[in-house]
Subunit: 195 residues, 2 copies
DNA sequence: AAATAATGAACGATCGTTCGTTCATATCCG
DNA sequence: CGGATATGAACGAACGATCGTTCATTATTT
């Protein structure tokens, strides 16, 4: 669970980086372990010295992706100014999920998770904690009068994440950056919180 | 382009149905043409008498999926009551994209489209027309005073679709139906249109 | 008989994985 | 210090399985 159990072998990181590049370029199921090893400048056999296999590499990536949510969660916990925290979250998370590497890897992991429990477990928990943090922030804001009060703040938090992630996903099919709808999304979400 | 050029060979439909079932169960890249043929009760070679290949089957599915949007587009065009039309669209489209077969096939097609122009073309146009129809409905509603007036109605339409599709996508990772967040999403979107 | 539909063996390519091996470095013993 | 030994990272040939596709052949229908 903790990342600090062992200092990660540099080669392992090189392999993961190469794998991410391959998955982005050709997708998870279209890339072979040979492609990963070749791009990492590593022998085929050596890859298996660092990972349990192709699936092990993806699981490791999922673990990293999940860990990156920790920053957002931390920023939402115990917020001094709930409104500012939410606004910053929306902006930051929208940017995060709109990065092709995050969006593409996200769906790749998600679809794999629907059929692969090992991946699903790594994936699910962190998302749940993100919803919790967001919902908590909404509640704090509601109590302080900054936001409207909702029956089910978790549901509203889900709506936020759905919208943001849906936005990031669609940005995949657009070559140029989608700046105008990104702003529209932000103001629409913020506007939905007013009393 | 038109589906009525030729009456579709019954066998072709059987094959497509089998392919959908396979893609849902195991994903596009994990299912082989042999799996499709076997599930359809058809010989391997005969599949190639009806489709150009595995990719041809997916393209056909994408075409069907696109055609299913026509109903939503029609309902949004020239709306007598924009508010009712939007509400019905939200409800209907949320249900549509929350069906596992639509959500899963959608991402499968989307990810394939990011790397396969042939699929992307089939996929992109209908979505654009859906955005147009939705934006048009929003404008009509704004003029009649039913909705607030937006600078960029297309952007708002994008937000709606992003949120709805993101919702459908996330419903993939939930075993039980997500009724409460579905309602929250609807009311949040509707609420965002008020003057 | 001509045309259409259906078959499945066969092809070359690639898949994920295994495994025996090499080799440079670290540790130990005398 | 110098030689023996242990360690584990790195390698790549090889395996059986499966991939998408082709095509010569057979069956069915008109």
């Amino acid at each position: 669970m903790s990342d600090t159990e062992q200092p990660i072998h540099p080669r392992k990181l090189e392999i993961v980086e190469a794998a991410v590049a391959c998955f982005l370029e050709n997708g998870y199921h279209q890339t072979g372990v040979r492609d990963i090893a070749a791009k990492a400048g590593v022998s085929l056999g050596n890859l298996y010295n660092h990972f349990k296999g192709k699936e092990g590499v993806l699981a490791f990536i999922a673990q990293i992706e999940g860990a990156e949510l920790a920053g957002f969660i931390a920023a939402l916990s115990d917020p001094a100014d709930p409104r500012a925290a939410i606004e910053q979250f929306i902006e930051g998370y929208a940017a995060y999920v709109s990065l092709p590497e995050n969006a593409l890897l996200g769906v790749e992991i998600l679809t794999e998770a629907t059929r692969n429990p090992a991946i699903a477990n790594v994936f699910a928990e962190n998302r749940d904690r993100l919803i919790d943090a967001l919902a908590h922030c909404l509640e704090v804001g509601a109590r302080s009068g900054a936001f409207a009060s909702f029956n089910d703040t978790r549901a509203v938090a889900c709506v936020f994440l759905d919208a943001l992630e849906g936005h990031g996903l669609r940005s995949l099919s657009l070559k140029n950056e989608d700046h105008t709808t990104s702003k529209a999304l932000k103001s629409f979400l913020i506007n939905g919180l007013r009393c």
